[in-house]
């Protein structure tokens, strides 16, 4: 009981404190690849700190949905993070929800975020909500089918079981079904975290923004919570990818040295994935909104192929 409490608190702290760093790392790296100096790694922390201490402006058209949204978004994203194995195969709350709970908790947060966008009455908010719900809806089947493929290989939708099933099979990710599912989930990751070529997190151009349009009216601490949740969501989805497909270093023993190695490996894996996302972002232009479904259709086909190859070759290679 005590051990479980410690692991819950530890993972909460890890996600809360580490997630802005991934955002900072991506931004810095992106700037360097574009031969700009860019902000340094710690800028997201400064932004959050600054926003949390500022006053805020609430639109006079908004109802209680508007202030409730940041809290719901923050809590759902963080809770989704507690269901995912990070440094140990056993996630703190994995008993209480598997990958379906993760996906649906994120959906609950998105549901409120989209309502928050509509609540202000501004047409930008509606535009953002409409696009966000559309893109997430068509990303959903690809996400779920890829997740199912992995879950079927492991015989469980419990993420800790999925991660444990891979321990000892170092080359499992070379199985065709695993590689195809990874490719599908990578596309979904880009769509869900609002990165180029689907959405541009740095834009405030009216006609192209999605996520930014929904949160246009938020300011001060509420904005900080939403930005923080966006970082956490990115970390949650990235962790899902790296630990389901490359569960190296998920320490089974609780020794300090083992923990340290796990943490370092975990950070290393996340940064590699962040690097890959930045490479995609730098090498591509943003797609027109109505080309995004085609990209997500590719993801769906990839995950369908992953499923069929599980059927043909079995889920476990190597």
């Amino acid at each position: 009981m005590i051990a479980q409490l410690i692991s819950v608190i530890g993972q909460t702290a890890l996600i809360l404190l580490f997630s802005p760093l991934i955002t900072g790392f991506s931004r810095t790296l992106k700037a360097r690849l574009q031969t700009r100096r860019g902000p340094d790694l710690w800028q997201p922390y400064r932004d959050l700190h600054k926003l949390l201490r500022k006053g805020m402006v609430i639109p006079d058209t908004a109802s209680w949905i508007f202030p409730a949204t940041p809290y719901v978004l923050f809590a759902t994203t963080l809770l989704a993070g507690l269901l995912i194995p990070t440094i140990a195969a056993q996630a703190p709350l994995s008993l209480f929800g598997g990958v379906l709970a993760v996906v649906y908790l994120l959906a609950l947060g998105r549901f409120f975020l989209a309502l928050g966008g509509l609540d202000t009455g501004s047409s930008f908010g509606g535009l953002g909500s409409s696009r966000e719900m559309t893109i997430s809806a068509i990303a959903e089947p690809a996400l779920m089918l890829a997740v199912f493929t992995v879950a079927l290989g492991a015989g469980s939708t419990n993420l800790s079981t999925v991660a444990e099933s891979a321990v000892g099979q170092s080359w499992r990710f070379l199985a065709p079904s695993q590689m195809l599912a990874f490719a599908a989930l990578f596309i979904v990751l880009i769509a869900e975290t609002g990165r180029i070529p689907v959405d541009n997190p740095a834009t405030h151009l009216e006609l192209t923004m999605i996520h930014e349009a929904m949160i246009l009216e938020y300011s001060g601490p509420y904005l900080a919570l939403i930005e923080w949740s966006a970082s956490m969501k990115q970390m949650v989805l990235m962790t899902l990818l790296v630990n389901v497909f490359f569960p190296y270093g998920l320490s089974a023993d609780g020794s300090p040295a083992g923990m340290l190695i796990s943490v370092l490996l975990f950070v290393f894996k996340l940064l590699i994935l962040a690097f890959a996302v930045v490479l995609v972002e730098t090498g591509n232009a943003k797609l027109r909104l109505f080309r995004v479904p085609e990209l997500l259709a590719v993801a769906f086909v990839l995950s369908a192929l992953a499923l069929i190859s599980t059927f043909l070759f079995g889920g476990h290679g190597g």
């Binding site: 639109p59 109802s63 809770l79 598997g98 379906l100 202000t120 509606g126 559309t134 079981t161 369908a304």
Partner: protein, 660 residues
């Protein structure tokens, strides 16, 4: 004076009848609960004196479950109706309206308990006919008459199919008694058994609203008074589900795999197309009606999986899938009735069903908005409410199917799961639209501006259902053991022991390796984790200024309702993405004053093509009309010809009589 007296009498009549309905509902609920808990069957019959009509009723676990669902919904609808009917029913006599309402409840209760084919069909027709009169309550409007006509026509076709299907089964059993008909489908030869299955599936499918037999549903549900819509979507279409459960799992001991595959396929198609059509609606009640089609699809996914598992010899998995389907039946009844009552309250206050004329109602009707939001979260399958639990069970059943069968058909299970995910995500998008456009931001018309909160009894009716959404979601693991008698009846196994763990707090997929979820823990953690931002706010934010200001609108002064996003605009991306399905048509006409940059007025029209009506039903209608025209040859209106026909018929009959 007379008018005043009449209004008071009307108000008391409706109170009396709604009170009767409430008491009846509670009694029905008691019977249902008793039937479920008792485990053994109760039956009772009354000789009617009419040949073949044996008025037998029976309370077995399946009947008790549906009775209980009926009771929950009927009780809250009865409470809601007290306030809803206070101002009369669209100017009609509340006495007639309320007697019909009670007749429908009686019909429903008898449909769920009848234990004899003939008696079942009689109860079925009582329900159909009484509902027809309720649908056309507002018969001055052509829309109502058309919706009612379509409803009664489709129901007739459905009953016709049921008749033949039941006769085939009864002939195999040699009796019309339900108990003796258990597994009678297996005695029929394969072809006749398959035919009876198809006829009964389609016959009950008309009532349930499966695609492509759904067209009456979005026509009839919205035009009925809202308390009736809530009953129709909540429980009446579930008589189709009840019939299917009765036939699939009681009258057939085993069905070939194609039957399960067909049900699964129809489920998937109904779910995806139902939600896609719902997204295109901006009539609040039609939108909800299309969502009923979607949810019937989700229920049928569970039923289809259960049939497949049974034919592959996995009773445990079949029980899991059946529980998923039945639990979703109950859950959908609860949240859909809640949403229809919410829509009814909105309609009551704004006198419009058009979402483009609503907005800002959350400030004017805060309680209705809250209940509608709870229903919206539940129907979108979001945790921790009841929709999430039954969709989660459906996912687990579908995933279990991958390992349970050997052929390529097993790929169908995860693909069905992925399409269920698509359905749920689109439903969430649709309810962001429905709630956001209806309740949030600025009112889009004077009617919405002047809207008022509804009366206490209407709010109570909704509150009961909202509470039920929470209880069924958070308490699912304590409720699931109640399904054991039904799976025992259908497959001879009880699985709740495998589905519930962790002192009752955790819902499991039936195996230790399968997934697990715990809605109470998730809900608790959500509240606990909200403490983090709250404490940050207490730490820093409390002292900061909080200013209320106008919404930014590109620097233009003053946000007006014209600036707001509309329901049509909200669903535009999906209309374009699924353009090959919707075939949208739009027309824009602008009137200019001086230059094209300053339009005086813009007329915008957009509609989607109703594919099934156009490509499926129009040819059928044409065919029937053509046949009718050719009948005109013999029925030309000449009295002499008719007399000749009668004479000829008489002679023919006499000839037969002499020979026989």
């Amino acid at each position: 004076m007379a008018c005043h007296w009449w209004a008071r009498a009307a108000s008391w009549t409706s109170r009396l009848f709604c009170g009767t309905a409430l008491i009846a509902a509670l009694l029905i609920g008691g019977a249902g609960l008793g039937g479920l808990l008792r485990g053994s069957e109760l039956s009772w019959s009354l000789p009617s004196g009419v040949p073949y009509l044996n008025c037998a009723v029976r309370l077995d676990p399946l009947s008790s479950f549906f009775l209980l669902a009926l009771a929950i919904l009927a009780a809250s609808v009865a409470v809601y109706s007290i306030g809803y009917l206070r101002s009369g029913v669209e100017g009609k006599s509340p006495a007639i309206f309320c007697s019909l309402l009670n007749l429908v409840l009686a019909g429903l209760a008898l449909v769920f308990t009848a234990a004899d084919v003939v008696f079942f069909l009689v109860a079925w027709e009582v329900m159909v006919a009484a509902t027809y009169f309720l649908v056309v309550t507002n018969h001055e409007a052509e829309e109502s008459r058309k919706g009612g006509l379509l409803y009664i026509l489709m129901s007739r076709a459905g009953t016709g199919m049921l008749f033949i299907g039941f006769l085939l089964l009864a002939s195999a059993a040699g009796t019309t008694d339900f108990r003796a008909m258990h597994a009678s489908g297996d005695k029929l030869p394969a072809a006749a058994g398959g035919l009876a299955f198809l006829l009964l599936f389609l016959g009950f499918g008309v009532k349930a609203g499966i695609i492509p037999l759904h067209i009456w549903l979005p026509a009839a549900h919205p035009v009925a008074p809202s308390n009736i819509s809530a009953l129709m979507s909540g429980i009446m279409i579930k008589t189709g589900i009840y019939g299917m459960a009765r036939v699939f799992f009681d009258f057939y001991g085993v069905l070939p795999a194609w039957a399960g595959m067909l049900v699964l396929l129809v489920g998937v198609v109904s779910a995806v197309l139902g939600v896609l059509y719902a997204l295109m609606e901006h009539d609040l009640k039609r939108l909800l009606a299309y969502h009923s089609i979607e949810n019937i699809g989700i229920i049928l996914m569970g039923f289809g999986a259960a049939l497949l598992f049974r034919s592959y010899g996995h009773p445990q998995l079949a029980a899991l899938a059946l529980i998923a389907g039945l639990f979703h039946t109950l859950n959908h009844g609860v949240f859909k009735s809640l949403l229809f009552l919410g829509a009814g309250s909105v309609l009551h206050s704004t006198h419009t069903r058009n979402m483009e004329k609503m907005g800002g109602l959350i400030r004017r009707m805060p309680a209705t908005a809250l209940y509608f939001l709870i229903g919206a979260i539940a129907i979108s399958g979001l945790p921790p409410l009841n929709g999430f639990v039954s969709e989660w069970l459906t996912y687990q059943a579908l995933l279990a199917g991958f390992g349970a069968t050997t052929e390529l058909t097993r790929v169908a299970f995860p693909v069905a799961g992925a399409l269920l995910a698509l359905t749920a995500a689109l439903a969430a998008a649709c309810f962001v639209k429905a709630f956001g456009i209806t309740f949030l931001a600025l009112p889009r018309s004077e009617a919405a501006e002047a809207a008022r909160e509804v009366s206490l009894s209407m709010r109570t009716g909704m509150a009961v259902l909202a509470l039920a959404c929470a209880v069924l979601g958070l308490g699912a693991s304590w409720i699931l053991p109640a399904f054991d008698p039904m799976t025992q009846q259908a497959f001879g196994v009880s699985v709740s022991g495998n589905l519930v763990g962790g002192n009752g707090f955790i819902l499991m997929a039936g195996s230790p390796q399968g997934g697990a979820v715990s809605t109470p823990v998730l809900a608790f953690m959500l509240v606990a984790l909200s403490g983090i931002p709250l404490s940050l706010w207490l730490l820093w934010g409390r002292r900061q200024k909080r200013v209320t200001g106008p919404t930014w609108d590109c620097g233009l002064p003053g946000l007006t309702a014209d600036n707001e996003y509309t329901a049509t605009a909200f669903s535009k991306p999906l209309r374009m993405i699924f353009g090959s399905l919707f075939r949208p048509r739009r027309e824009i006409q602008a009137e200019f004053e001086v230059s094209p940059y300053y339009p005086k007025a813009i007329h915008f029209e957009s509609e989607i093509q109703p594919a099934f009506e156009k490509h499926f039903y129009d040819p059928i209608r044409e065919g029937i009309l053509r046949m009718a025209r050719s009948m005109r040859l013999v029925q030309a209106g000449s009295l002499h010809a008719y007399l000749a026909y009668i004479f000829l018929t008489l002679i023919l009959l006499l000839l037969f009589g002499v020979r026989g």
